[in-house]
Subunit: 245 residues, 2 copies
């Protein structure tokens, strides 16, 4: 069974959703037959990565940015930050918005694509989320990405080559187009076996229920007006043993 | 919308099923947005193609083969032939089992694969079915396949090259494995958008109902416990406009 999660590295609910998915999988009896794939979604493809010295690297900038985005006061922005921090803490995630450094995430998604090919995607995803949300890492910087990717087990030179070439830019864009085609307007967006979709970091309980439902209905097709699979040749059909006539 | 039909060239119900699908599509208002793909299924991968002069090319052999297969008398074999002939006639298909020449269909499926790449698959499928069932063509012979493929618009040299190289043998085998994975134990087996399966040459009425149902449910995902697609950011999600908090 496959669980694809469209997600961004700088999306707070995505980090929380990752924990909730992990909790759901920990309680799912068939977790060892579930493959989790992290797919790319950029909340803001036009985002600029803050360079060292930028205002966007100063403490408290996150609340100011929120206030500017929503047209509220900085105090109200800080209120949102506090609410999100509390929500994250309830799921065991430490969010340090006071340290967060604005970042474009296209390159982070390229790193995650490489990590998937090397069987290290979950480790890389976790490392990037923790870097951005907890440690104030500038996940838009190439050398920061290289360092975090190495922490997750990737090869530094290969990561540098991927970023220099833009090797997976098209792959990232294709995943983003797929998200749109599937009806995802926000993230996290969980897709189970391309049959069920869950929008948002729903509680582990609910993710578990979807896993169970998809598991129970694993047959990839709904057979209409015909014998169930494995029941032998249907009416008006031919099989290895001949034709029903 | 995509309709895949697993089918064999020497399968009577497949030819009838093709007519029923055509009738269903003729009555389906969105037929011009439906792509039909013919996929490979060999009823008997070990079948030997009868060479000129073989008993299997003599009139009446089909009834004898059926009798041998089912352990019945040749008269009972002929009874099955007559029933199938009558069923086919009711759908406008002329079946001349008295002319039919036993054939292995691996190469016919290779030709159909080439035809798909050239946008000529339906014409080629129809030509091969008519050749085998109505005209007594030896659809296991390379030169017969070349001639029928040319009738359908393919290039003779390219067909010869495909057959000489076995260019699509792996592709045919992959489609057959896919049929098994989807639960198809006989053919024809219709699959609509990989969501609905119909086993057997069900009546046009029923195929039409499945087309309509799949059309009405075109959204590829069942969204669970969340807002409908397009309704904006769900709870506990982040989107281009920010995070719901």
């Amino acid at each position: 069974m496959q669980v694809e999660v469209w997600s961004d590295v700088v999306c707070p609910w995505c980090y929380i959703g990752k924990r909730r998915l992990e909790e759901a999988l920990a309680r799912f009896p068939h977790a060892d037959e579930v493959e989790v794939v992290w797919r790319a979604f950029e909340l803001d493809p036009s985002a600029r990565s803050a360079a060292p010295g930028d205002a966007a690297r100063e403490p408290g900038d996150y609340a100011r940015r929120l206030a500017a985005k929503y047209g509220t006061s900085v105090e109200q922005g800080q209120g949102m930050v506090d609410s999100m921090t509390a929500a994250a803490a309830a799921d065991g995630v430490e969010m340090r918005f006071d340290l967060a450094v604005a970042a474009n995430t296209l390159d982070a998604h390229q790193v995650l694509h490489l990590a998937a090919e090397r069987g290290l995607q979950d480790a890389a995803k976790e490392r990037l989320l923790r870097g951005y949300f907890t440690e104030g890492e500038a996940v838009g910087d190439h050398e920061v990405l290289v360092r975090l990717a190495v922490d997750a087990g990737l090869d530094a030179d290969e990561v540098r080559a991927v970023l220099a070439e833009g090797r997976y830019v098209d792959a990232v864009r294709a995943e983003e187009a797929e998200a749109a085609a599937l009806g995802a307007t926000g993230v996290p967006f969980f897709v189970v076996d391309r049959r069920y979709g869950v929008a948002g970091a729903q509680p582990a309980e609910q993710l578990l229920a979807v896993l169970q439902r998809a598991w129970d209905e694993r047959s990839p097709l709904t057979l209409v007006g015909a014998a169930a699979p494995g029941a032998g040749a249907a009416d008006h059909a031919c099989g290895p043993e001949g034709c029903a006539i």
